[in-house]
């Protein structure tokens, strides 16, 4: 459910999402995206690299960040969202990742409200998988700002 206007304040946390990652997920993502880099799907190949085993696609885990933002901001995220992230540690089969977001800025300008968030994806050991920032522009005049 998207957030209400009144909820958009600095410090507000976006309801987190959690995903379990296994090799079957990764293989499904490889099929869907067409990204068959062996570090994701070939356990023998990946095991012989410095990674020590297969890792999830960064874009797969980043999709969870986009999901968090879509759940919070709806259509406004799809045509007015931006993100800037770094992939810090790979997510691996067996991990459970949690995606958190917290509003860090709210600015009004020219009939738009620009909401900035810090986003963090971490695993069950609190290792940081992805860290970064997102911004979403919301219309404040003439339409429901989260596009519901």
């Amino acid at each position: 459910m998207t957030m209400n206007l009144a909820e958009l304040k600095v410090g507000v946390k976006i309801p987190e999402i959690r995903r379990s990652i296994d090799q079957a997920n990764i293989n499904r993502y490889a099929e869907a995206s067409g990204d068959f880099n062996p570090i994701h799907i070939d356990e023998e190949y990946a095991g012989n690299t410095s990674l020590g085993g297969t890792i999830a696609h960064g874009m797969m885990v980043l999709a969870y960040v986009s999901q968090l933002m879509t759940s919070a901001f709806g259509k406004a995220w799809l045509s007015g969202g931006s993100l800037n992230v770094r992939f810090k540690t790979p997510a691996r089969p067996g991990d459970t990742v949690t995606v958190n977001g917290e509003i860090n800025s709210v600015e009004e300008q020219n009939g738009e409200r620009q909401v900035g968030c810090n986003v963090l994806v971490s695993n069950q050991d609190d290792e940081v998988i992805i860290t970064g920032k997102t911004t979403v522009r919301l219309k404040t005049k003439g339409q429901n700002e989260t596009g519901r």
């Binding site: 499904r28 995206s33 874009m59 797969m60 986009s66 759940s71 995220w77 799809l78 045509s79 800037n84």
Partner: protein, 134 residues
């Protein structure tokens, strides 16, 4: 998805522009993507609007197919601006260019600029992808 003619990694100097590539994401591919990432919102479930990350992922995959990035290339950073939605009916065009290329010891860092347009001219998304090459 059609491929660019492959180029040698050494040809990928800063400013190099890959040939634009048209692609379309058909409904089965969109559905497979949505299921693979567990996307479960009505915007995507009940309409033919695609998640922006699906467009981004398939555009990046087509770039990886066209470019000579070696196995073991790691995605280290990503920026995106989502400008407009696109649907399974839209013909999308990917434009990509090399923004930076730096050698650090035995590793090479590259930043690739990516833009996707729909129906020839309407921007859908832009972004920059940071890669670490073995």
């Amino acid at each position: 998805m059609p491929e660019d003619n492959k180029v040698d990694l050494e040809q990928l100097e800063e400013g190099y522009e890959f040939a634009p590539v048209d692609f379309q994401i058909d409904p089965p591919t969109a559905t497979a993507y949505i299921e693979a990432v567990g996307e479960d919102v009505s915007i995507f479930r009940d309409t033919d609007t695609m998640p922006p990350m699906a467009i981004a992922a398939l555009a990046l995959t087509s770039l990886m197919e066209a470019a000579p990035f070696p196995p073991g290339t790691i995605h280290v950073s990503q920026d995106f601006d989502f400008i407009d939605t696109a649907s399974t009916k839209d013909t999308l065009t990917r434009h990509t260019r090399v923004i930076t290329k730096r050698d650090r010891g035995r590793l090479r860092m590259m930043t690739i600029g990516l833009s996707v347009y729909k129906n020839n001219k309407q921007p859908v998304l832009t972004g920059e992808t940071g890669l670490l090459l073995p």
